[in-house]
Point group: C2
Chain length 338, copies 2
Amino acid sequence: MALTNRQIQLAARPKGLPRESDFALVTTEVPALQDGQFLVRINYISVDPYMRGLMNEGRSYANHFNVGDVVLGGAAGTIIGSRHRDYAVGETVLGFWGWQEYAVSDGGGVHRFDPSIAPLSTSLGVLGMPGLTAYFGLLDIGRPRAGETVFISGAAGAVGSVAGQIAKIMGCRVAGSAGSAEKVAFLKTIGFDAAFNYKGVTEYPAALQEACPAGIDVYFDNVGGVLTDAVFTQINPEARIVLCGQIDQYNALTPPQGPRLLWHLIAKRARAEGFLVFQFASRYEEGQRAMARWMAEGRLTWRETIVDGLENTPKAFIGLFKGENVGKSLVRIAEPGG
Amino acid sequence: MALTNRQIQLAARPKGLPRESDFALVTTEVPALQDGQFLVRINYISVDPYMRGLMNEGRSYANHFNVGDVVLGGAAGTIIGSRHRDYAVGETVLGFWGWQEYAVSDGGGVHRFDPSIAPLSTSLGVLGMPGLTAYFGLLDIGRPRAGETVFISGAAGAVGSVAGQIAKIMGCRVAGSAGSAEKVAFLKTIGFDAAFNYKGVTEYPAALQEACPAGIDVYFDNVGGVLTDAVFTQINPEARIVLCGQIDQYNALTPPQGPRLLWHLIAKRARAEGFLVFQFASRYEEGQRAMARWMAEGRLTWRETIVDGLENTPKAFIGLFKGENVGKSLVRIAEPGG
């Protein structure tokens, strides 16, 4: 008897902040396995801010979703059936399977994850795309030196919280902003030297000066907007601005406007550089090894915000833009090993 | 009998576009030389857009002028009297002497120029600060590779016209924008593959697409503003944006606003980097040698816009912001050797 699969499709392109009605839950059958295929029971689905851009019509960098497509994104699961000679039942694997409960794969784009190293959920967080984004963005684009000040916007998120801890490991002073008192408290527990709740701030430059009295040498930007405008006024000579995300603008209905910022980069001989984690694909193992070591040494910790049930995936996704998550936001479909 | 010196002082901080009334012509006496000093007859005064920022109250990068100060800037002259053991009458020298006819120097910050290599005026242009700005900005910040497309705003200026020729020497396709048909014609004569008069353009992205059909790999930006906004929409993956100047904004009365641009840098994994030529001071000789060689080989040419008479210096300076100069703008005080 065929297994029933539930999927979430893009029902309409969101206008501004996505609504739950932009998504549709559909039920299908899991197709029978062909030779060279295996069947994955999804355990965790990753929801990430970058997915918002893919829901628009051709404006962002990757392949966009069409209305009626299953919403794609990273997921981690367990092989429960296999006609593939390289993949065995019981293995835990990662793939770009998106918002569904089961996936059939031929192994393309699939990575194994060893659950003896860390819980499977970390494969989508600190040891996965967000952690690697933090690692390569901070170290390769930001190039922090011991003693420098690193400021991180969206610091309590999946990427920001890892970037901040790596900056501490590198011997930097680290400060960050987040959107609630709870998040600010979390940042203090993971070693941030200073943090503030941007929602209570009326004068960003003053808040930044208090958090970063020696100015900002490396800015790891997940947010953009008025906070970033203020950071540009506080950068030190030869500052590096790591452009990781601009979540403040992903739901903009009209092209966002703001003060012209480029002259600051001339005055300070500074650099602003964007990146996408896949450009470091050949070095993912290096990053994962480094972070697993720091985790084992107790120098790198992580936080997850988990909701249960595929049907709650749109809600978890929308919550990213409302600041509802601390650390990595995940949807649990089934407990691994369960 | 003491020599009479004429100087131009900053009479008032300009509001917006400077006016001639912001400057005052004063007459003083040249002081008698002390031991360790020499007297320079200024031949050429350099007027440069960056000086505008120094006329404001503390916003830009260097030491600002005060009202009542002689306006400072690069100048080239001939030693006509010396009580300095290292400098002899007849030598041609460069210094940061500003807008005056004579200067007394102790040799601090002074460089010699060998007039057998090229006319003395080039010491303030292609072989001086503007040329070095083009050389290091293009090669060290922009890092063009053969076959790439380089686009230059303010391409007919002292810096842009040199940057474009160096990009051609590097094997790039080179396009640029300038503010008159005469300037566009000049760009064609010095090897630009495409050029347009931005004043006739209503759709910048379309104009850029026509000039740069393969997209833009290196953008050498002297101008900023709406043209730069459009360039951000036309950059290729891994583009480099060399932030040299933002002349469009130097006379702004209120902080200029525009579309938020940083997300383009993420989408294209691109870099925008500002610089000031003095950060390459230890390598000026390298740049001057390279450019003198290209000049001797006939691969690098230059254009000058020269006005005569110290009293016309404010007018020449203001003309920079009206686009009146082609190539390097200079004020001739006295013909060298004359």
